[in-house]
Each structure stands twice: as C-alpha cells, then as structure tokens.
C-alpha cells in the first residue's frame, strides 16, 4: 500500500500531498515527521540522492530534486525498494513536466500538470505507470498504444 506521497519546498512547507488510508488525525504526524526528516537530512543533499527511513512496519524513501523535496511512504509490498521505483517514476515525470530539476517557482507554475501526472503514476495507494513517456501520453489524454 502506497500510503503517502508528499512534496515540500526546502523550508519545509508542504506543496502537494496525497494520502491513502491514513486517518485524518495521523496525517499531521506524518507531515511533521517527514518534514523533520527533510530538515535533518536533505539540506545539502545531491539531486536524486536517495534517503531511507522506517517507522515500525512503514517505509519511507525520499529525495530532493531542485528545490523540491519528495517523500514516499509505503508499507507491505511497497517496501524501500518499491518506493525507489515509485520515487523514480515521480521524479522523472516531474522533471519531464518542468523540463529540468524544478525550482519552487517552476513547480508551482506547473502544479496542475504535476497533479495530473501523479494521478497517472499512482491511484488509491496502488502504483500504476512508471514510465514517464506513458505518463505523458496519458496526461494528454492520448491512448497508451496507437
């Protein structure tokens, strides 16, 4: 189960978040936990450098691209390595949409497209497409194969 995907800027403000089967009152804890992980580790990290964390049986993999922090949280079959796949799909798609590793401004400019892309990458806690070309086709409402 992919529990959460969260984007934050480098000062720890949440820009975009998706939760699945996380009760409302726990989301706050996740937010602050993830943001704390980011402040502790992501300052000075390279682009696409992968970080890992875990909490009980939940795994967290996160990275930074440009000014944006990206966190993925999963459990069960979505362990660290699957989350690496998810994260890779997300970052490559975001870079595809923003043309490069995004600054916060560019990210917010392309916010809508990023949201559309995320909807193709996962939905209801299940990973869908990992290939950025497929994601791009689908966000433009093109069929996968034609």
């Amino acid at each position: 189960m992919l529990m959460s995907v969260l984007f934050a800027n480098s000062s720890g403000n949440v820009l975009l978040e998706r939760f699945h089967s996380v009760p409302g009152e726990e989301r706050l804890h996740w937010r602050s936990f993830l943001v704390k992980l980011g402040t502790d580790n992501l300052n000075g990290a390279r682009d696409d450098e992968l970080f890992v964390a875990s909490h009980k049986s939940v795994y967290i993999v996160y990275t930074v691209i440009g000014d944006i922090w990206v966190f993925t949280v999963g459990k069960d079959e979505y362990d660290e390595l699957t989350l690496v796949e998810v994260l890779h799909a997300i970052t490559s798609s975001v870079k595809d949409i923003c043309k490069k590793a995004p600054s916060e401004r560019v990210f917010l400019d392309k916010y809508g497209k990023v949201c559309l892309g995320l909807d193709e990458i996962f939905s209801q806690g299940i990973l869908e497409h990992t290939d950025k070309d497929r994601v791009r086709r689908l966000t433009r409402l093109r069929p996968l194969v034609e």
């Binding site: 529990m3 804890h29 009980k56 362990d79 390595l81 996968l144």
Partner: protein
C-alpha cells in the same frame, strides 16, 4: 440500489469489456510507410482496453469464489501491457493465498516453458516480477498440488530463477518467500522449513535448448529501475547459450547477491539488504528453536535434493578450471569467496555478518538500526557476544540516535528472546548496554518487560546474572549537564539534558521497583518456603553476624538488599521512596534473617542514624532532607509499624505457646479465635504493602501454622478467603458437616519450588498486565502503520498545523487509553493502570510536540483534562489506595508463589501519588478560556448549508440534526445521525452554523 448491486454491475461491465478484448495477445506490429514500424490499430485498442479493464478490476473488491474473476485475472497475465500484467498477477497471487490449488490449476498451463509466466521474467516492470515471485511461492506449497510434481517444480524453478533477477526488489522478494516469510502470520515451522530449503535447495536451470535466449535476456533485462543501475550483480551472462548452466545452490546465490547489495551506495538497497539478513536470521533462529539439524559446516554442492546427490555437477565444477576462471572473472566477489568456491555455509554466513558489521558505519541512522537488528538476529546462542556488544556500545555512544529507533532495537531484543529463550542472558547483557549508554532515550516499560521476561526465561542458574543486569542501572551516575555539551551541538544538549535526567530517574525508579518486586523470585527465597528452621530468627540478633550469614546463604538476595539500601539513602527523593517500598516488600516476603536486616536498616533510616554515620559518603542533591535526615520517615513509619506488629505478635505467640505447654493446657476456642483474628489482621496489613499469597503467608511465623489449622478446620474457614468469606462471617460455615476437603497450611517446604521456564510460563508473561506488553506485542505482530511522533523540538512545521487537529488527536488518545484500561483491568489492580496512563501522559504530554505550539502549554492541559475526568485516580487516591489495594487482593489468591512477581502491581502505582508534583505539564494549571470541555453530547441543528474547507471539517445541509460533542476555538465538533453524501459522520463546523 445497494452497494453489492453496484459492485456486481461493475463486475459485469468489466467482464464484458474483457470478454471482447482479452484474447488480444501481443500488439501486432506492421511495416508502415518508409520502413517505419507502426502498430495494428485494432490490437492496440484491444491492449489498451484490456489494461484499463484489469486496472479497474484490481480496484474492485476481490471476488474470491467467482470462477469468472479468476479466469479473467489469469487471462490478464498474458496481457500485452506490462502494467496490466502486474495487476493481473497481483490479483492472482492474492487469490492464491485463499485457494492455492484452484489457482495452481488455472495458472498451470501458463507456467510451462514458453508460457505467459515465463514471459513475465522478461517484462521490464519490476512489480510484475515481484508478484510473480509471490505467486510462485504460494503455488509451490499448495497442498493439493502434490500429485502434480511437474507443476510444483515449474513453480519452484521460476521462483529460484527470480533470485537472479537484476532488480534487488524481485530478488529479495524471492529470498523472503523461500525463507518462509510471506506475511506477518507465518509460523515458526514454516520459517524453519524455509531455512532448511535455503541451505539445501539447488537451482537447476531449465533446458536451455528449449529456450535459447531466456537466461541471457532475463539477466540482461535492463529496466529503468534505479535500484538496479549500479548494483546489478553481474551473473554469468556472456556464456555461450548452448552450454547448460551449472546448477547452483541457492544459499550461494543468495549470499552473493546480499554481499553485492551490501556494497551498494544506495541507502534503500542497504536498508532492504539488512532486512533480508534479519529475515535469514529469523528463519535460522526458528530452525534452531525447533531443533532442526542443519550442518552449517557442510559445503552446499554436496547437499541433497529430492534424494539425488548432485555428484556429477560437483565433478564438473571441480574438473573444469575454465568455468572456474570465467566465473571469478565476471562475478565481482571478495577474494575469499571467489578463491574458495567450496566454502561452507558457516563461512558464508560469517562473511555476511562481516558485511553487515561494516554497514553499521553508514551515516543513515535507519540503515544502522537495521544493521544492528540484523546482527542481533544473526547472533546464535553459542557464539561469543562480544563483537555484537562492542558494536552496539559504539553505536549507542553516539548521542544523535533518535529515541524511537533505539526503542525499536530494544523491541527486537524482545522478539529475539521470544524466538530463542536460551539467549536470555546474552540479551540481558545487551540490554544492559542500552540502560547504561542511553538511559534517557529508551522506554523504561519496554526495558522492564525485557528484564522480567528474561529473568523468567534464563533458568535458575542465570537468575543472579539477570538481576545483576538490572542493578547496574542503579549504579549509573546522574547525567552531568556538561557531558553532552562537549560532544555535540549546543542546542541539542541544552534541551536533552534535563529530559535525560528525568528519564534516567524514571529508569532508576523502574529498576528499584523491579528489584523489590522480583528479588525474592530471583533468589528463590520466600518466607512461606523458608529454609530457616522455625524459631532461629530471634536468636540471631547480632547484626553483623546476621548479614554475613545472609549473604553466604543467598548472595543474590543479599546483593539486591545492599543495592536497595544504598538507593534508599543516596538516590533522589523519588528513588528513595521506591527503594523504601522495595525494601519492605523484600522484608515481608523473605524469611529471617533478611526481614530483621531490613527492619534494622529501616529503623535506622527513620531515625536518621544512618545518615549521621555515612555523612562523608553522602552526596546531597540539593533537596531539603527533612528532620529525619532522609525525608522518608513518613513513608517508613507505617512500614516499621507493620514489622513491629508482626514481631510483637510473634513474641506474644511464643509466650502463649510456652504458657500452654508449661500448663499442659489445650488452646481454647476463644484463644484460637483471637489468634486467628490477629493473623488475619496482620495479613491485611501486610497486603497493603505488597502481594503475598494469603493461603500460605504466615505473619505470625511458621510456628503458628498448626494452631491456625486447628481453628480453621473447626470452623471450616477457607484459607484463601479467610473472614472475607460470607459463609464464615455469618457463621454458616460452622454449621457445615466436616466432610468438606480440609485445607491446611502446607508444611514448611525445605526445597524451594523453582518454576522451570516452560513455554506456558513464558507465554503467561505476555498476557500479564504491563504497560510495555502492548508495545511489544504490537511490534512482534508486525503492526505499526500509525504515524510516528516527532520527538525533537528542532522540527520546523508548516503553518497550517491547527489546534483542531491536535484536539482531535488527544480525544482519540483519551478514548484509546480508556479502552486499554478496560482490557487491562482483568488481573491486576485497575487503579495502577489508570494511574500509569495518566502519569505517562502528564509526564510526556507537554514535551511531545513542543514545536507545534511554541510557548503555549495547551497540549499539556489537554492531558490534564484526561486526568480530571478519571474520578478518583489521582486526587482521591492517596487516601483510597490502601483500601483499594486491600480490596484487590482476593483476585490474586489463586496465583502460585512462582507467579507472584509477575502479578505485582505496576511500580507506578506506588509512586503515582507524588507524580503530579514533578510532572512538567501540571505546573501551569490555567486553561484557555475558549475551550469548553466535553461533558456530554448536546443536540443541535444545522442552520445553514456549510461546505467543508478541509479534511477535518464536515459538510452540512440546512436543517440536519446533529450532536454537538465539544466546542473549540469557535468551532463545534459535531456528529451526524447518519453519514452525509460525502460519507463523513463527524467533523468540525463553525459555531454560528448550528443552533444548540
């Protein structure tokens, strides 16, 4: 239309689509203009539709018994779209859990050479291959499949082949499957069988002539995964295709793979590899525990599979130097491994552990924690524990470790103990490191539970060591304020130091309490099973001789007493109180001369004489010592009184007995009654301080047993209930005919019945009533998706964090706590658990999320609200405690003396009284005026339509009936009678939108 109707309608639609497109097969390509390839429109459309339909089907609830569902899912494995294949495999593997045989039959055809399952090996999608591993594992162990050996071997071969997968994810999934870990419900038999399989099974490659390109493309499949970029193990792929691949023992493949993963620079890969090593350790421990004999010194080539000795292969291996050379060339292995292809399992494992040990140097705490856990699991009972200890000690001296991770490691110790109880001593040794190196960070309840379980698990010989591990906590110096500043960042030390001091104090209290409660058990010394012959006690009045005699007879108990005595006058105030309580517990439970020793000590303590004597050794902690010098006289006075009464009554009894003997006079009924009443009164008094088995305990000394038995039999008084029995109180018991089974005091036993640490007893611990039990059980059960708690106050959180969220959270916690209380109140005093809950929340409430509120103390006040809504737990407690404890006693009476230490009330119960005095949250008692505390739900009505602006808000339709639960900051938290259109039942709405 009901939900089921809708779902069945949806199934119908999806099946309808699949019916039209499922036989699409591969997307056909055709040559277009100018030589460009284009795809066939028709087949592309079909493939797209099939993918979409499978994706939809995956999100519908699994229809287990429906053959159409299974058929469509299995058909989907041949889908042209890789994501479609993934969904199909996910569904099939989920269904296979429930009905392995049916699924195996349905999938059987696909698993044959050239079938769709084989093709999945080539699909780029990592998750499809992962689900394939799962599916193969489940199907290969299906019960009914035994008569189809061909099918089973197909599935196992596929599973083993996945060990060579370029992606770590797939390979690790295959390893965990082989190890028998499928979900959290696996049994230790399965795990043990998994270890046996891993060490003995051999991967035989399918005949390459049937599938010429299979192996090479399987290993070459360069998918876009980052995980496989650098760390792909380069297994022999450049070998000419016609040459049959040499069968490989699984254990070697796995070890190589793990070693290459351990050299990865990617943290997730390292973390995952550590987890896999843990799993290997778990399965190995399970095999040990079940007594499975696996010769780890054997060389894998010579192992046996299905009764055939793979002799030919090992000959090929040995006799073909060319193959040997080519292998060492392509496989990047440490020289030790590559040079010696015939190494034993044990040496492979030690190589692996060495790799794990180097991983501890990783800078990521989570990876390090996983590595330590892996080392704990790989530790076997026979090996030396020194390396593990030194690694952990080195790690723990790093002050930056987050507390939550350390506690998880501590919980791993629990899990390790559960797997191999023989390791109790080793584990206690390790836990001692936690207590000494990081006392401020670990959860004292979890540590205490570990002490307790290990104490019981370590057998009679290890009890002394077990108690030593606890007492070491008492020797810890208080955390010096300067110590941390030197080593770490300034802001860290300034905040963590007082916290560490408080936590250390809690830990010390816990240790002292534990010592008092369990010393008698560990020393196997009970007053009611005393080795001292009756009557000798009063003759040994010389204090020095007494101590010498006591320590020579029972060094464990004497050692515990010495530590406690030191704590009773040199610890902080709270520790001294607990120490005094621990001492009286030991005094009451032990026979002479220990009782007298404690009596003398307490008397001296009350008078302050000890302090005078030890003035030069006394370290003041800045508290007012009070007139007595120790400030304990008010606590000690009632204890001394009880002991005084006991000794007085014993003296009186001896005097009376002599008189009767001299006068050759029988004891009259009246005299006996007075004696018995005295006995009962003392028993009640003693029970105020600690638990003693009422049916065995003799406050009047062992000599009274005979006389009491006479009176009891005459009046048919049950030993366990005494005068509390209504039949006795009303005199009905006297009317009974004396054919009732006579309960007598047992004769004084000379042999101390030490319980053997049987499984039943160990299991009993887990159900006993302690705060740590829930946490440990939750950990062992593998649950824990709840949100983590941010413990440090350096976190910057986003501004939108609202008070309402926190409020909802505290409400939830409060109700959880009450539920827990209801569950827990079964065996021990409910009073103690209640006071534990509140004291914990009041202690940590204010420090939990300090950053969210800056300087406000609102969260702390929420927890105060919890306290106030527990009538009598806190304020009425001091006076009520004695009586309530006495009332609780009847629930203990059935327990045997061996279980006595397990049933003791929680140590917090004793010191809960003074808790509010030093808990940080209670220092600011004022509340914010705009928060109204919920008394009961009020009825209300929605005035206007309201659209929720956030997750925690609730949509309203004008005129709706509501229940108002509480008000906060101009918002009502309301509950609807029935869920609204959005399905939400409760949430926040503005006050003005609701009439109340």
């Amino acid at each position: 239309m009901s939900n089921t109707d809708i779902v069945s309608k949806l199934y119908e639609i999806v099946f309808g689509i699949l019916d039209k497109v499922a036989d699409a097969g591969k997307v056909r390509k055709k040559k277009g203009m100018f030589g460009r390839q284009s795809v066939d429109k028709e087949s592309a459309l079909r493939s797209n539709l099939q993918y979409v339909a499978l994706s939809a089907l995956r999100r519908l609830p699994l229809d287990q018994g429906n053959p159409a569902f299974l058929h469509r899912a299995v058909q989907g494995i041949a889908c042209a779209d890789p994501v479609g294949v993934r969904h199909a495999l996910a569904m099939v593997s989920e269904m296979a859990v429930r009905d392995p045989y049916g699924v195996a039959m349905a999938v059987g055809k696909l698993s044959l050479a050239g079938g769709a399952l084989q093709e999945v090996l080539h699909i780029q999608d990592v998750m499809s291959r992962m689900y394939l591993a799962r599916l193969c594992y489940i199907l290969s162990r299906a019960r009914g499949i035994d008569e189809r050996m061909d099918l089973r071997s197909q599935f196992t071969t596929l599973l083993y082949q996945l060990l060579l997968d370029p992606s770590e994810r797939v390979c690790f999934e295959a390893i965990t499957c082989i190890l028998g870990k499928f979900d959290s419900h696996e049994s230790s038999e399965e795990r043990a069988a998994g270890w046996a399989l891993l060490t003995s099974a051999i991967l035989k490659f399918p005949d390459p002539s049937a599938q010429p390109s299979k192996d090479s493309s399987a290993t070459q499949g360069s998918d876009g995964s980052t995980a496989s970029n650098d760390s792909v193990a380069k297994f022999p792929k450049d070998r000419p295709a016609p040459r049959p691949r040499r069968p490989q023992p699984l254990i070697r493949l796995v070890m190589r793979r793990l070693e290459s993963a351990l050299r990865s620079h990617l943290r997730p890969v390292l973390h995952a590899a550590m987890r896999i090593v843990q799993e290997i350790g778990k399965s190995r421990a399970a095999a040990f525990a079940l007594g499975m004999v696996i010769n780890e010194d054997s060389v894998p080539e010579n192992l046996i599979e299905n009764g055939d000795i793979i002799k030919a292969d090992s000959e090929v291996d040995g006799g073909d130097p060319a193959a040997e050379v080519s292998r060492t060339k392509v496989v990047p292995l440490p020289s030790s491994l590559a040079a010696n292809s015939r190494e034993s399992i044990a040496s492979m494992l030690s190589n692996l552990v060495e790799g794990v040990r180097t991983t501890v140097a990783c800078e990521c705490f989570y990876v390090r924690a996983a590595a330590i856990k892996a080392m704990m699991w790989m530790q076997s009972p026979e090996e030396s524990v020194e390396e593990l200890k030194s690694t952990i000690a080195g790690e723990l001296s790093d002050p930056l470790w987050p507390a939550s991770l350390l506690n998880e490691i501590l919980l791993t110790l629990h899990a390790r103990f559960k797997a191999t109880p023989e390791m109790a001593i080793i584990l206690l040794d390790v836990s001692r490191l936690f207590a000494t190196k990081a006392p401020g960070k670990i959860d004292s309840d979890v540590l205490q539970l570990l002490w307790k379980t290990c104490l019981i698990g370590c057998g009679p010989s290890g009890k002394h060591t077990a108690l030593e591990a606890v007492t070491v906590v008492l020797d810890l110096p208080p955390p010096a304020p300067d110590a941390l500043e030197v080593s770490v960042l300034k802001d860290h030390s300034s905040t963590s130091d007082p916290k560490a001091a408080v936590a250390l104090q809690r830990l010390t209290q816990a240790a002292v309490w534990f010592l008092g409660e369990n010393a008698n058990y560990a020393a196997a010394e009970y007053a009611w099973e005393s080795k001292t012959p009756p009557g000798t006690a009063l003759m040994m009045l010389d204090g020095d001789k007494m101590v010498a005699a006591a320590s020579s007879r029972n060094p464990t108990l004497a050692g515990a007493l010495t530590r406690l005595q030191r704590c009773a006058f040199s610890g902080s105030w709270e520790v001294r109180i607990v120490a005094a309580q621990a001492l009286i517990t030991i005094a009451i439970r032990s026979g002479e001369p220990y009782r007298l020793q404690v009596y003398e000590f307490l008397r001296a303590l009350a008078k302050g004489g000890v302090q005078e004597k030890l003035k030069e050794a006394y370290v003041s902690n800045g508290e007012d010592q009070g007139a007595s010098g120790t400030g304990l006289s008010s606590i000690i006075a009632p204890m001394l009184q009880v002991l005084d009464e006991m000794y007085k009554a014993q003296d009186q009894l001896i005097k009376d007995m002599r008189q009767h003997d001299n006068a050759k006079q029988e004891w009259s009924d009246d005299e006996l009654r007075r004696l018995y009443e005295n006995h009962e009164r003392l028993l009640d008094l003693v029970s105020l301080f600690c638990f003693v088995p009422r049916s065995k305990y003799l406050p009047l000394g062992p000599t009274s047993a005979g006389l009491l038995n006479i009176y009891r039999n005459r009046h048919h008084i049950d030993a366990t209930t005494g005068f509390n029995d209504p039949a006795v109180a009303t005199g009905i018991a006297d009317l009974q005919v004396s054919t009732v089974t006579r309960i007598e005091y047992p004769p004084i036993q000379i042999d101390a019945a030490v319980p053997s640490p049987s499984d039943g007893l160990v299991d009993g611990i887990w159900s006993s009533n302690l705060a740590g039990v829930d946490r440990v059980n939750a950990y062992l059960g593998g649950v824990g998706t709840d949100a983590p708690e941010v413990e440090d106050d350096t976190a910057t959180t986003r501004a939108s964090v609202s008070y309402d969220d926190m409020w909802a959270k505290t409400l939830l916690e409060a109700s959880d706590g009450e539920d827990a209380d209801e569950q827990l109140s079964g065996s021990s005093s409910p009073e103690s658990t209640a006071s534990f809950e509140t004291s914990v929340s009041s202690q940590f409430g204010s420090s939990r999320y300090p950053s969210l509120f800056g300087n406000t103390t609102s969260f702390g006040q929420n927890t105060r609200w919890e306290e106030e809504h527990r009538p009598g737990t806190r304020f009425g407690k001091f006076s009520g405690e004695l009586t309530s404890l006495a009332e609780d006693q009847p629930s203990y009476v059935e327990s045997s003396p061996a279980n006595a230490p397990l049933h003791g009330t929680h140590w917090q119960s004793g010191i809960g009284n003074q808790e509010p005095l030093h808990s940080p949250s209670s220092e600011v008692p004022s509340r914010p005026s705009d928060v109204q505390y919920p008394e009961e739900a009020r009825a209300g009505k929605a005035l206007y339509e309201f659209t929720a602006g956030g997750d925690d808000e609730l949509n309203l339709t004008a005129g709706e009936d509501l229940e108002i639960e509480y008000e906060v900051d101009g918002w009502y938290f309301v509950r609807k009678k029935r869920p609204g259109r959005d399905g939400k039942l409760s949430g926040l709405v503005p006050v003005l939108y609701v009439t109340s």
